[in-house]
């Protein structure tokens, strides 16, 4: 999840742009990536056992002349298979499983909101509150603190949940490994209350900024959005991992693709919307759309199991 650094970046970036110009933010990125890139050239090792063993196998084949040697981790996939797995499978899952599609769009809307806020904080706080371009970077911290708080809570709870799940599995025996021991839907219990924070935060943010209430109030509202955002993302990811165990990565990839596209595209209408509707009604519109999506987590809690069983994903 990139929320956290995304909201820390502008703090440095704001002051840097103010002092040295926007081009310097890229030079700093160059320096950092160059430094770490060089260090990795020197110190990084190959850690993927499948590839290490493949090389060992090739070496041994040459040394012994025994062409039948094969790595224990070799499943006989060609490079073409790997690409098909990675590209076609997520798309297939979007088409075949309504849950994957629904959650991808749902998370996509929230992710789009996040980037809409990222791209509009600068004009909003410069115009409404007359912040300098240095100080305006600090306004991103509200989302950052929110995400951090959300992450902290989840870091604390996840290991617990995993352990509980494993114990439940072991108690119930291997036959129930498909999820009848513990419903993956149980992961979504936190989704509804966490999600409510997002429209709430948007309404407060919009109207307090509209009436130029002291600047800390809209920023505190973005903390709520930050918490809601990370909580929704975490809940959905864990749910997808549980619900599609074997194909979890493809389900997550499908989610990432849709989410990233919406994150890139949704902000395009942000500034126009604020110009037309004003901050109050603009953010309220986002909030109302958010409220309209409120039944999604509820519906998945209720019918998720049915949908999963009906549109079961196998032999992709």
């Amino acid at each position: 999840m990139i929320d956290l650094t995304s909201s820390v970046g502008p703090v440095a970036g704001g002051f840097l742009s103010q002092a040295k110009g926007w081009r310097w933010t890229f030079w700093v990125l160059c320096m950092l990536s160059g430094l770490f890139g060089l260090l990795s050239l020197v110190f990084m090792r190959e850690t993927y056992a499948v590839v290490i063993l493949e090389r060992k196998t090739l070496r041994l084949q040459k040394e012994t002349g025994n062409k039948e040697l094969r790595s224990k981790l070799d499943v006989g996939l060609s490079p073409r298979d790997f690409f098909l797995h990675s590209i076609i499978r997520p798309m297939k899952m979007l088409v075949k499983s309504p849950i994957v599609l629904l959650l991808a769009v749902y998370v996509g809307v929230i992710y789009g909101y996040l980037y809409l806020l990222f791209t509009t904080f600068t004009p909003v706080f410069e115009e409404t509150y007359h912040f300098s371009s240095g100080i305006v970077g600090l306004t991103f911290l509200g989302l950052g603190f929110g995400s951090m708080f959300g992450v902290g809570f989840f870091a604390w709870s996840t290991d617990r949940v995993f352990k509980a799940r494993k114990e439940a599995m072991e108690a119930a025996g291997e036959e129930t490994a498909d999820g009848s021991a513990m419903q993956p839907e149980a992961r979504l219990k936190l989704l509804l209350p966490a999600y409510c924070l997002i429209p709430t935060g948007l309404f407060i943010y919009g109207w307090t900024a509209q009436y130029k209430v002291q600047w800390i109030v809209p920023i505190l509202a973005t903390v709520l959005i930050g918490i809601g955002n990370i909580a929704v993302f975490m809940c959905v990811s864990l749910y997808l991992i549980d619900a599609f165990a074997f194909y979890a990565a493809s389900a997550l990839a499908a989610n990432t693709v849709i989410r990233s596209i919406m994150g890139a595209v949704l902000p395009l209408c942000g500034q126009k919307m604020y110009d037309t509707l004003g901050l109050g009604w603009g953010n309220s519109l986002l909030g109302f759309i958010g409220l309209a999506l409120l039944p999604v987590p509820w519906a998945i809690l209720k019918w998720g199991e049915f949908l999963r069983k009906k549109y079961e994903i196998k032999n992709l």
Partner: protein, 272 residues
Amino acid sequence: MSSPTAEAIEVPSSHETQHPRRPSQPDHPLSDLDKETLAAYEGHDADIPSNEGYVLDARGDLKRRQSIAASHKASRKSLEQNGTKDVEKAGEEVSTEEDDSNIVWWDGPDDPANPVNFKPVIKLLNICLVSAICFVTPLGSSMFAPGVPILMKEFKSDNVELASFVVSVYVLGFAVGPLFFAPLSEIYGRLPVYHCCNALFFACNIACALAPNLNFLVGFRFLAGVFGSAPLTNGGGTIADLVTQEKRGKAMSGFVMGPIIGPISKSFCLHC
């Protein structure tokens, strides 16, 4: 492995037929559930092997056996051509499936080539470097957002869509990158993918810093996003490779939270 041979499909598989999701390595203590979870953390489905093994569905298993049979056939052919068929080898050819003597694995549990047995310093360095890179690339996503109004003035544009897009286009790269870097890292290893993407990310940022106009900037921001997504895609995998299973729980739950918090959390450094 071009053509499925009858020989391949007829290979008897007593326990496999009852159990489509059989454990791939019966001697291994990991359960299918563990392997599936590990695969998800590494960012690939369970039928693509992780360091700890894989789980196959019926189709994947068929494919694997076809591949074994194909390589077996090819090797027998080459042996016959050379006419150097020694007695020892002849016995092995008959038993196609799962011939232990032909399987390449680690040299014992302490094999230094096994990533799990790397020296702690090396592990720490690798994990820290991956975490550092995972910190830098998302930094690029919004770092220059506060500078956008100045930038728009410099390029004499008042297009509000472009002002937003120049920031958010980076995320579009995150949609595209993983689809290609995940399979590439599974074929060629993580290291080449990291190195190439680091270099290209570096180059794209130079291009952004020197951008002569807005379209150029948007284009290279997109590419920077594409190459910046590689460490985020593979980072979980690197950490999963290096940290042994019993210590993985905390480190992994940290990573699922986000490539950022995971590395920072001290559980990381304590556990490698």
